[in-house]
Amino acid sequence: MGLPLLDCFLNANGTALAQGAPLPLRFGAWMWGCGVNPARWTPDTEGAGFELPVELQALDRELATGGKLRDQVSILSGFDVRLDGRPNFPHTAGLMGTLTGSLPLQDYTVPAPTLDTIIAGEIGGSTRFRSLEMSCTGNPNQSYSYESQSVFNAPEISPIALYTRVFGPEFADPNAGPFTPDPRVMLRQSVLSAVKADRDRLLQRVGAHDKERLDQYFTSVRQLEQQLDILLSGPADLESCALAPAPGPESPGTEVGQSMATNRLMASLLSFALACDQTRVFSMMFSDRISGLRQPGSSAQHHQLTHDEALDPAVGYQPEATEFVYVSMEAWADFVERLAAIPEGDGTLLDNCLVFGHSDVSLAKAHGITGIPMMIAGTAQGALRPGVHVAGATSPTTRVGLTVQQIMGLNTESWGTRSMEATQPVSEILA
């Protein structure tokens, strides 16, 4: 890990390196499936200083870099996904409403780009990786990062593969002595030039839909060219950047212990990748919207339990299913805590991030899409007020997505369609 910065290297506000390049601002999404028990998750009071409800006790942690985790996280309750007469496709409608601002007309379809890709489109071009997608489910075919129905960003499911991709031989280690550009990288650029020369001839021969698909392909070629440019320019001039240690043994799968361990390994690798400015956008799927989390030896998965398990009349909730809510919140806390563990500027990496945590439903048993549980961690370089609870009072979840886009520097004035269209950011969390 990099050494803490000495104050003399920083500008007066501690937000930029003295040479003038500001520290990068990062965005990430962290998703867990099958929601919460709203009555046990929602704080009783609004604003700062609320008492942590039982299902948010995981946030009651001391941070190694000082302060409490709960003071870095804002809670957003009571924001709704609105159907406008469209079907409530179980676990899909709430997720898509929250992440795309639109509701699908058919099940398993993506009506519009997801928030992370909108932001990556704006800020992803200047880093080696436009974005990094990760999953703790062991499923290589599923993430919730879509530019469109056909353009889906596949996740890394293996911490070792993520390590190799970011910190493998190509990584320019700032602590590894003088940098010499690899001639092979330049030759790889000429390979891409030849491919681009095929473009016009191919485009003449295809229809409108294939033209879109090929445009996407060539956008991807240009992105890799940029990646190669960045590789040739040498290591980033960032004090907190260091080569990540190689992850230990891994075990992809959806048993609770497996997903929790994957989440911690991925969070650690990601924190190094962000500190070295390898990417500024990420998304993590901790569990599928049809959550497949399970305890070893049990015949039922999280999602099944939310539907099958009887409410315990003595307590008013499903005890076994609720164990997975605790697990999910512990995993969220692990993830955010890791970002707060890396010193950066005069604070931590987390201070230069905006991490949007959310689920697909409120109460999974009823596929509830009112009061989708959402959280925001990090102050986004002081733009956000952390540690507050905002009750959305049935306003659309898109207000949160709109706020996120504006904080990340996008000129978005409204976001979402039909009655999901939002024009008012969530001012209560703005600094």
Binding site: T109, F152, R184
Partner: protein
């Protein structure tokens, strides 16, 4: 021994068909008017990418497993391939895979098999040898001869790299990489032209037909002979096409094609991706090796049955299969062969017959900790009978139905509660009676007599045909009138990479009738499809994809 028998059976069948063809009967395409649908680029599936590399560059090449995942639409990767694009992270993986493949293909011990000329010096460029290599390998990878500009660009890269790195073969690696990352390799380009004999009809060009045939029947790129036929214009003539189709249908590569079709249709990729997971404490017998063998057992059964030209419908009743010692443990049957496969017949008294009694299906359509009559029944309805099962209503209380504690001990008892609720019964009466017949096969397909201490009743009915057990259900499925036409529809979708259009319905009906008349022989159905106008003609390139978010 077995393999020889199948080959003989195929040859005999082919000879028979040639005779029939000579009599002007079976091989003439169905004479129904067809208004065919559009063509689109089709991205290679991960499996096709690997197979193409092996076919063209050598079996020794290990293709990295990190290729962008395939898109599965309307139940088929073959349809998703007509929609898939390449994302930045996907392209990054293709480029890394291309580098790894090129390095292995041209390593010191294999380069002479692939580069059929000797460079004047290994430490510098050799334009003539590089050009020979790029032209020959490029033609196989692009599935057509390269244009002058395409070749020149690659030769230039090879020369530049050879001189920079002082290594002729390192130069070729870069040249080969630029073929492997090209959209002309990653996507199959299907082109249409006006048919001179019917100017208002668009047909696929002869060279496009070569790829269309080859990926359907062999799941890989065309071989040299097929490419030559494509480039000579043979594949837009009836005789030229028929000659190649007959050759392809008796090739051993047909087995690969049939495997690919049924792996895709049955979504067996889930086994390869390690996604069919079971609880280790509840099912200690279950391992990744076991499921891979279970998948292989089913595919071997299908290939053996269909290449012997047996009736497709009998796949659901046949007792013939294959076994390994590892599978024998899970099936609780003795297996003589210590390692490898042996033919096996489930005995008369066995409760198993037909594909649906295999471990593969029962494990795939179950949860990690328990079986699912609903998932199994849904598979039969949707995939084998082409019937739609709607998704469950959003706001519904399931708590009464699947709680395994308390009084409801068997799946039947729990599911009967669904049927008592009108919101649920519409779908569950379609799926559950099928799946309940398989309830003696647990979440990994092992046999059990009871569930939670209660005996398991496996009787039921399928579309009015009552049965007592899984074997009876297999028979009812075998005799179901929707079974054959559903395979026709599915194979057609697989062949053209999209759902049928209204103007193709008459063709599908005719194909179904001819499939029945042929005794439900799948090789005959494949022949009928590729000779039909549904396969050979098109409305032209597809327009933009609907966005999914309507007004």
């Amino acid at each position: 021994m077995r393999t020889i028998n199948f080959t003989l059976a195929r040859l005999t069948a082919a000879a028979g068909l040639l005779l029939l063809g000579a009599a002007g009967c079976s091989s003439s395409p169905p004479a129904v008017p067809v208004d065919a649908g559009p063509v689109a680029l089709r991205r290679l599936t991960a499996e096709q990418f690997t197979r193409n590399v092996h076919d063209v560059l050598g079996e020794h090449v290990t293709v990295p497993s990190r290729i962008d995942p395939d898109d599965r639409r309307s139940g088929l990767l073959a349809v998703g391939a007509s929609f898939a694009s390449v994302t930045p992270s996907g392209f990054e993986k293709y480029e890394a895979a291309a580098a790894a493949v090129a390095e292995q293909a041209l390593d010191a011990s294999h380069r002479d098999d692939l580069v059929l000329c000797q460079p004047t010096a290994v430490t510098t460029s050799d334009e003539a040898c590089a050009r020979t290599f790029i032209e020959r390998v490029g033609r196989r990878l692009f599935r057509r001869s390269l244009t002058q500009a395409e070749t020149d660009a690659r030769v230039e890269i090879a020369n530049q790299a050879a001189n920079t790195l002082r290594d002729f073969y390192a130069g070729l690696e870069l040249g080969l990489m630029s073929l492997l990352v090209s959209p002309e390799f990653l996507f199959r380009v299907e082109l249409a032209e006006s048919d001179p004999a019917r100017p208002s009809t668009m047909r696929l060009t002869s060279i496009s037909m070569a790829s269309r045939l080859s990926y359907l029947l062999w799941d890989s790129s065309p071989d040299d002979e097929l490419l030559a036929a494509g480039e000579n214009g043979d594949l837009v003539t009836d005789n030229g096409l028929a000659a190649q189709v007959e050759r392809m249908l008796v090739s051993p590569n047909l087995e690969t094609g049939i495997r690919a079709i049924f792996s895709d249709l049955y979504d067996f990729k889930q086994f390869d991706d390690g996604l069919v997971r079971k609880d280790g404490a509840l099912f200690p017998v279950y391992t990744q090796t076991l499921v891979e063998e279970a998948k292989e057992q089913t595919l071997r059964t299908i290939v053996a049955h269909l290449t012997a030209d047996e009736d497709y419908r009998d796949l659901f009743t046949t007792r013939e299969t294959f076994m390994t010692r590892g599978l024998g443990v899970a099936y609780r049957v003795p297996v003589a062969t210590a390692s490898g496969w042996e033919p096996y017949s489930f005995p008369e008294e066995s409760p198993r017959a037909g594909l649906l009694s295999h471990i593969s299906f029962n494990a795939l359509h179950s949860h990690p900790g328990r079986s699912s009559a609903t998932l199994r029944g849904k598979f039969v309805r949707e995939v084998l009978l082409c019937q739609d099962i709607p998704t469950p209503p959003a706001n519904i209380d399931f708590s009464i139905v699947e709680n395994t504690q308390g009084e409801l001990r068997t799946a039947r008892e729990r599911l009967e509660k669904h049927v008592s609720s009108p919101a649920c019964s519409g779908c569950h009466t379609l799926t559950d009676p099928i799946g309940l017949a398989l309830e003696r096969f647990d979440a990994i397909g092992m046999l059990r007599e009871e569930e939670n201490g209660a005996p398991i009743d496996v009787s039921g009915e399928l579309d009015g045909i009552a049965y007592e057990d899984a074997i009876g259900m297999g028979q009812a499925l075998r005799d179901n009138p929707a079974l054959g036409p559903c395979l026709v529809r599915t194979l057609f979708r697989y062949a053209v990479g999209r759902g049928p259009e209204a103007g193709e319905e008459a063709l599908l009906e005719s194909l179904a009738e001819r499939f029945a008349n042929s005794g439900y022989r799948v090789t005959e159905l494949l022949r009928e499809i590729v000779l039909s106008d549904g396969f050979r003609t098109t409305s032209g390139p597809r327009d933009a994809e609907p966005s999914g978010d309507g007004p």
